[in-house]
């Protein structure tokens, strides 16, 4: 059992309401009082999904046993005591530390991302009729624009891009938000504090425009904390693990969330590298 070192569940979670029960996470909110995390959400996950900011990660078997229980409780609006989950749990620091990235690793990730987005067509459901709102591709094309604006210090452009990304797209954590989280992860990785502050400044007043879960992850990202699945992408970008394996894992995070985060991460890393060309626009590559 592990917890986020910087947002360990407090006494408030002795009386928590179930907000969300998904395949990979249970989200709880304290009924009253305060919590270490700014927004007060607690994300309970299994080993497969990895520890999330302000969360608890438990062995897969334990999480699997817990899910049906929570699913049943939710229909009766029952409150739960989550403090026991964190008892004797180990603390993990989810901050991304500045580290050197490698061009070869970034290129490999970019090729993998491109292959996945091409292979999946215009949306992950494999159909071309579902509403445009469920198609992440137009939002992904904005990632290099946000990254370039942040790198250039162009606040007005950053606000414009963030404004059109936040809360936009499919998923509990909409695609646009995942892209922003990826951009912030890259800012932390390359220690570009100015760019990170610009994006954070643009995001903060717009948080109410997205889901509670997404607000939670965006706040953590502004604080420099990211889920373990994002650390896996960072590990590949810094040549500490296989890009192919990182891509394979990213594909398992929601229908598009993992690839959306990777899109933002790569866009910002490419933009932040001095004396190298900016990352090509995905749409341009795909139409070539």
């Amino acid at each position: 059992m592990c917890v986020d070192r910087h947002a360990r569940p407090g006494a408030a979670f002795s009386c928590a309401a179930i907000v969300h029960v998904g395949q990979s996470a249970v989200v709880l909110r304290p009924v009253s009082g305060t919590h270490g995390a700014a927004d007060g959400l607690l994300v309970v996950t299994g080993e497969s999904a990895g520890l999330m900011p302000g969360g608890i990660r438990m062995p897969n078997a334990q999480f699997s046993a817990l899910l049906p229980r929570f699913a049943a409780l939710r229909t009766r609006n029952t409150l739960v005591d989550a403090t026991t989950f964190a008892h004797s749990a180990m603390e993990i620091d989810l901050h991304i530390r500045p580290s050197k990235t490698y061009r070869a690793a970034l290129d490999a990730l970019q090729r993998g991302l491109w292959a996945e987005t091409c292979a999946n067509g215009t949306n992950a459901a494999g159909t071309h009729n579902t509403a445009a709102v469920m198609n992440p591709d137009p939002l992904r094309r904005q990632a290099p624009l946000l990254a370039a604006a942040a790198t250039d210090g162009a606040m007005a452009q950053v606000r414009r891009q963030v404004g059109s990304l936040i809360g936009a797209g499919p998923g509990t954590t909409p695609t646009g938000d995942d892209i922003i989280v990826g951009v912030l992860a890259a800012c932390a990785l390359v220690d570009d504090r100015r760019a990170g502050a610009l994006v954070a400044t643009a995001v903060a007043p717009l948080l109410a425009d997205t889901t509670a879960a997404s607000q939670h992850y965006l706040r953590a990202a502004i604080d420099g904390r990211f889920g373990e699945h994002i650390h896996e992408l960072v590990s590949a970008a810094t040549a500490r693990s296989s890009p192919a394996e990182a891509i394979a894992r990213a594909k398992t995070w929601g229908s598009s969330s993992g690839l959306d985060v990777l899109t933002g991460l790569l866009a910002m890393l490419k933009a932040a590298q001095p004396n190298t060309e900016r990352m090509d626009d995905l749409s341009m590559e795909r139409s070539a």
């Binding site: 989200v27 897969n60 509403a131 809360g167 509670a212 650390h231 500490r240 929601g254």
Partner: protein, 514 residues
């Protein structure tokens, strides 16, 4: 509920307040719903302002929508109201089923330390005693600590673990009298069982504590060649003898070896430790020697020092070769290194280019050519700067082979100095790519009217999966001059080099890449 009619179709939406669903489930349900008769288009998203705007752009936003960002909105456009309502009912039902069905998982492989312990007991019928950790560095300290707290020794292959975590882990290990080998530990032999990169050496009486992977391999394989054997080889990670870590695990490992009845000689192998750590360690080794077990401090770069009373004081050696010779000698198997070929070496123009796969072997070679004053460039190709996105050259020899071949085109190079490391974990055939590259390099140099010497040593034994004698024959057939030890190869390179500097080379100059 809201509805909007556009041309000949009907648009309806259903808002599910405060309901989250994974996007995989949403897309699957949307796709299924869209295939129903009479349905044109479907959308299922969180009702954020941005998504409402996108829905509006694609004529999928109802005139009124009473929803917030935390609500899930399901919109369906179809040819008649009946079909659309039926589709919305089906979608809502599917969402409910998906939620109550959560938690149905297929049986998985062990994903945690407790699960691994349980699986080991179930599958092997015995309790696990050691955990090998090779997850990315971000997680390694957590997995290692879990393992220690479950009473397991740990071999932590992972690197990029913060040093403060290493100190914490080793403190926990010392409290529990458990080995915390690493982080960044690739070599160990415990009770005759090789872990990570290790050669097949005979069991014997010499215990090795090593803060260096290939250093431990070179020392252990030379001990084996001398006729001695290894009782235990305990890796401690390259930072253990730093000032920050203070030799926490070296101290514990020495304690184990002192108590081990199978160990009668002890060697500590490391690059130069932090001075204060070295002082303390040498004092401890002297105390151990005084208690009856001869000790050797094999610290690269230190001056050799023979105690006045060998049986009561530590012997210091500044090369891996020297450390192995001292240990084997004290175990009753003295051996000499034949430098006859060095004495008769022909001199060649051009600098020495060292292309190494083993980090400590590169350090030892660098030290010797530096002391010899030869013009040389020695590269550790296993260093992070050369392995980004690629396997370590001990695992995949092709990248090093390409550099060897390219060196044949470089008229400034007269001598190529190499290592070839065998054993568990190393490439199945590390020799053939090197031999092919050597032939290519020598051919290129010859075509240019130059002579190119390739000198090296093989860190291996005949018990290794690759077989020392087989590898030697492959390399020698390509014209590689093989020496008995890595140090001897470096000495030969110095002897053959016509290019010498008049002053000692600085570290920076030695490491400059071609």
């Amino acid at each position: 509920m809201s509805d909007t009619t556009t041309m000949d179709t009907v648009l309806r939406a259903r808002v599910l307040h405060h309901l989250y669903r994974d996007s995989v489930a949403l897309l699957r349900i949307a796709s299924t719903t869209e295939r129903l008769d009479g349905i044109v288009r479907v959308g299922a998203v969180m009702a954020t302002p941005a998504n409402a705007a996108i829905l509006a752009q694609s004529d999928m936003l109802p005139d009124t929508l009473d929803a917030t960002a935390d609500d899930l909105v399901f919109v369906v456009r179809g040819y008649n109201e009946q079909a659309v309502e039926a589709a919305l009912d089906a979608a809502e039902s599917a969402l409910t089923v998906a939620e109550t069905g959560a938690g149905q998982h297929a049986e998985q492989l062990p994903g945690t330390v407790p699960e691994g312990i349980a699986a080991a007991a179930r599958d092997n019928g015995v309790a696990a005693t050691i955990a090998a950790v090779s997850v990315p560095g971000t997680y390694a300290s957590v997995v290692a600590e879990q393992s220690l707290r479950h009473g397991l020794h740990v071999l932590c292959f992972s690197d990029n673990v913060p040093i403060e975590d290493e100190v914490r882990l080793k403190t926990v290990a010392v409290e529990r009298q458990l080995l915390m080998m690493g982080p960044d530990c690739g070599t160990a032999i415990l009770d005759g069982v090789p872990l990570g990169f290790a050669n097949v050496v005979r069991r014997g009486n010499i215990g090795i504590v090593a803060a260096s992977g290939t250093g431990a391999q070179e020392v252990s394989r030379l001990i084996d060649a001398a006729g001695s054997g290894v009782s235990q080889l305990i890796g401690v990670g390259g930072r253990d003898l730093s000032a920050d870590v203070g030799g926490l695990m070296t101290d514990l490992a020495l304690g184990f070896l002192v108590e081990d009845p199978e160990t009668s000689v002890i060697v500590v192998v490391s690059k130069p430790p932090a001075p204060e750590v070295a002082d303390r360690l040498i004092k401890r080794l002297s105390r151990i020697a005084a208690s009856g077990k001869p000790t050797i401090a094999c610290f690269l770069g230190l001056d050799d020092s023979d105690p006045a009373t060998p049986q009561t004081q530590v012997c210091i050696r500044g090369t891996l070769e020297g450390g192995a010779m001292a240990a084997a000698s004290r175990d009753g198997h003295p051996f000499d290194v034949d430098d006859a070929v060095t004495a008769n070496a022909l001199e060649l123009p051009g600098r020495i280019l060292g292309l190494f796969t083993g980090g400590t072997l590169a350090s030892e070679a660098k030290l010797i050519v530096q002391r010899g004053g030869a013009v040389a460039e020695v590269l550790d190709l296993g260093d992070d700067q050369y392995t980004a996105g690629k396997p370590h050259p001990m695992i995949d020899p092709d990248a090093r082979a390409a550099r060897i071949a390219a060196a044949g085109e470089d008229p400034s190079v007269g001598i190529i100095l190499i290592d070839v490391v065998l054993g568990f974990g190393a490439a199945a055939d590390p020799a053939t790519p090197v031999a092919d590259a050597v032939r290519s390099a020598r051919h290129a140099a010859g075509a240019d009217g130059r002579r190119l010497a390739v000198i090296g040593s093989v860190c291996g034994t005949d018990g290794d999966p690759q077989s020392l004698s087989h590898v030697r024959s492959i390399l020698e057939s390509a014209g590689v001059t093989l020496c008995q030890t890595n140090a001897a190869a470096a000495r030969l390179a110095v002897a053959m080099s016509q290019q010498h500097t008049t002053q000692q080379h600085g570290q920076h100059g030695m490491e400059a890449e071609a």
